[in-house]
């Protein structure tokens, strides 16, 4: 993204013309650093990723696994409500056990993080890849191609994601690995927003001198896209992607909640919510745990995404008064030369957010 920021500001032909290309990244981190909420969110996200990656390690530490039944830990005569206070919390079961099965809730929650984060990240990568490709092709292509792709994008944006995903997930045979499938479906259904942003930005970039110059010197579409457009597109796309991740987590949870997401015995937060919803009175922690995990994750990712947006947005960055001392000069310098493009960015961002 360092190149992204600078390249778009440089009326030259290539990113190579930019002085001190590394400063963009440093600037980004500097701006992000000043936002405490974003930093806290980043820490939470890092922790969640760590937990997801090291799930077996954490459960080994607890001495449990997510699928073993413990019939002795539930009161069979009372519908299988966990024995003991607070849903059966003990030194062996840190967050208690699941009603009816006695499966360890901590282990299921930790393994559920893998599904939630993994599916959401994979889906986001897919959405960005498809969205950028379609947006660039539309923005650079002829009228016919642009019209076709734009209408296709409109359709994707207009179609309710959940309904489409439900239909797709229901028809695929059960043998297909479920988390991969869910990621694919969310990815292939939810790229419309990215494509719209990229196309709009591409069209406005196309008329800029450096792109025109590249075209005049006979570069092909792919090369122009790669060398002249992609660097400038990085900032909005990264911002958009950062906000897509929490949305995708919610979608995965909703799909699992509706019973078409990952299948048992794989744990997922959405699925835990489904089986827990009837237990809210008899075993409240069963419902609260996955709900809280989802809430914290989505909140952290959203705050982080917002921080990233702010850090990538020069107008907002100037308001942050980044580097009032030593670094002030560099910053004011950069923020003082916004061009038409820059000032337009916050708007596009806002509309994108509404549209998503």
């Amino acid at each position: 993204m360092s190149e992204a920021l600078l390249a778009s500001e440089t009326p030259g032909v290539g990113a190579t013309a930019v002085p001190a290309p590394a400063s963009g990244a440093r600037q980004f981190w500097r701006r992000l650093r000043t936002q405490r909420a974003a930093l806290a969110a980043a820490a939470v996200v890092a922790l969640l990723v760590l937990v997801a990656l090291a799930a077996p390690l954490f459960t080994a530490l607890e001495g449990q696994d997510p699928t073993s039944y413990h019939p002795a830990l539930v009161d069979s005569a009372r519908g299988g409500v966990p024995v003991g206070p607070f849903g059966g919390i003990s030194s062996e079961h840190w967050l208690g056990v699941e009603p009816q099965t006695g499966r360890d809730l901590f282990a299921r929650l930790v393994y559920g993080a893998r599904v939630s984060l993994g599916v959401a990240l994979a889906a986001t990568v897919l959405q960005v890849a498809i969205g950028v490709t379609v947006g660039l092709a539309g923005g650079l292509g002829g009228r016919w191609l642009d019209q076709t792709l734009s209408r296709a994008t409109d359709v994707m944006v207009a179609l309710p994601l959940m309904v489409l995903a439900l239909a797709l997930l229901a028809v695929v045979p059960g043998g297909f690995p479920r988390p991969v499938l869910v990621a694919l479906v969310i990815g292939f259904v939810g790229w419309g927003g990215v494509a719209k942003v990229v196309r709009a930005k591409t069209i406005s970039l196309k008329s800029l001198d450096h792109v025109a110059a590249a075209r005049l010197s006979g570069w092909g579409g792919v090369r122009i896209a790669r060398r002249e457009l992609l660097p400038a597109l990085a900032a909005p796309v990264i911002t958009y992607a950062a906000l897509l991740v929490p949305t995708n987590i919610t979608v995965e949870a909703a799909l699992s909640f509706l019973g078409v997401g990952v299948k048992p015995p794989t744990a997922s937060w959405g699925q835990m919510l489904t089986s827990a919803d009837v237990w809210y009175q008899a075993a409240p922690q069963y419902l609260l745990l996955p709900a809280a995990a989802l809430f914290v994750t989505v909140l952290a990712l959203t705050v982080l995404g917002d921080g990233v947006r702010t850090a990538l947005d020069p107008r907002a960055a100037s308001r942050l008064r980044v580097g009032t001392l030593r670094t002030r000069k560099a910053d004011t310098l950069r923020t003082r030369k916004p061009d038409t493009l820059r000032t337009r960015k916050p708007d596009t961002l806002r509309t994108r957010k509404d549209g998503s």
């Binding site: 005569a77 009372r78 509706l258 048992p264 015995p265 009837v278």
Partner: protein, 583 residues
Amino acid sequence: MRRLRRPTSAISSRTAMSRRTAAASAALVVLAAGAAACAGPEDNKNKAGGDGKPQKGGTLTVLNSDPQSDFDPARLYTSGGGNVPSLVFRTLTTRNREDGADGAKVVPDLAESLGKPSEDATVWTYTLKKGLKFEDGTPVTTKDIKYGIERSFAAELSGGAPFLRDWLIGGDKYQGPYKDKKGLDSVETPDDRTIVFRLNKPVGDFDYVATQTSFAPVPKAKDKGTKYEEHPVSTGPYKVVKNTGDGERLQLERNPHWSADTDAERKAYPDRIDVRSGLNSSVINQRLSASQGADAAAVTTDTNLGPAELAKVSGDKKLAAQVGTGHFGYTNYLAFNPKVKPFDDPKVRQAIAYAVDRTSVVNAAGGSSLAEPATTFLPNQKSFGYTEFDHFPAGASGNPEKAKELLRAAGHKDGLTITLTHSNAKNFETSPEIATALQDALKKAGITVRLQGLEDNDYEDKVHDAKDEPGLFLAHWGADWPSGGPFLAPIFDGRQIVKDGYNFNSSFLDDKAVNQEIDEINKLTDHTAAAVRWGALDKKIGAKALTVPLFHPVYKRLYGKDVKNVVISDWTGVLDVSQASVK
């Protein structure tokens, strides 16, 4: 998205009913309502929060999830005449409205006494009571009963039980009274009070069958074909005043021409019955536990308490007193298809039977208050001929060592990977909860279970398709009447294998000795003697390890705080509307 605990009776009925007609959906719905009746004398059972003797008067509200669709005696498919339907339609025989095991007996209703069998139980004769009247005051004759039975053969009035079509002589060819004015010769009415049925095979259980609504009289002059369901002519204590939205709301009022003198079974305390449906099961349970306004005098005939609701209710003494407990003849089991490897090897099937952990399965089904572990295919009730046995004792939580030993003997030294097919219905019977509990138990015996979860319709089609039947799947079976016959014959009679169509003999057992014994028992008209032999047959078939019985469900249902005289028979397992009082 919410976890519906479907009335198990509804499902059971479905299973039983869909026997020959894959499109039994209409039937199920009815059943839901239907399977819910039973009865008893009002004497000592004011189990509800009430005090004092039950009194006449008031309005009883029924809060249900499934509507009373196609409220026509020819189209209803019920066990024992149904719960709500039985308020309007009287039949030749009916359920004994008593608590528990006594309620699993069949007693005369329109008939003076139970049927008189002759010629090896292939001919059944009934005599009507005197003074029976329709709701308009015209007397009931056996011609009306014959006409009602003939109607149930009409293609336009689909949905009813298939038994008469299979058993009455000429029943397979008869097209119903609209196309075939001559009528069905195998139902004879020598006079207005006598009716004779001629069957193509011995049916010792015919008295049980005569409880079904197709045995209700229908006056030919009042028959409006498919529109008859809007206002069927009542013989019971209530008549239909208003039927809204094809049974979504059914309002019943007293039938002045019904007399308690001719009806020993129905108590009919309330003046009005208001049946409302289309409600979510958690809403029904919430309303019954709150018992506010009209809901204090409300019951449900199709909604059980789920495990979470039970956990909440059992912690509240007042609410716990408003819960009725019942048993319906029903078994949930693992079914093998011995045509699919490795289930062709009895040792593998036995190993699985040993490895099953019934404690965790029962917990997954809702815990020990909602399910009882099963080792027999027959339900654990005397009327079915329940004979205790456990051929492959797995103990409370499975015997993985014995299972491993059998697997080694079968040549699977390094364990085994198998697929278990289940449905994604949220019924706590064939649903993922049960499947994952089994998966965990079999893992301990070195058996890796892959789960194949199918949408409910998909699942029903696949497991009943003889050509496509999976090797191992979760199955359930409920009886049309409380006897061993409708339990064992459809599942294990080799002549009932359906090659193209809905097949219930999932193990494809075609054993001459078994078939012959089924025929022999069907000749018995003494239900007690028959029960003993059904039990022995169950034990004999059980040794073949063609199924692994898992659990029998227990019904827990809430009723409003003002409801008295709660009677729950073992025939239906649910509160009998005809016995409840609200005053």
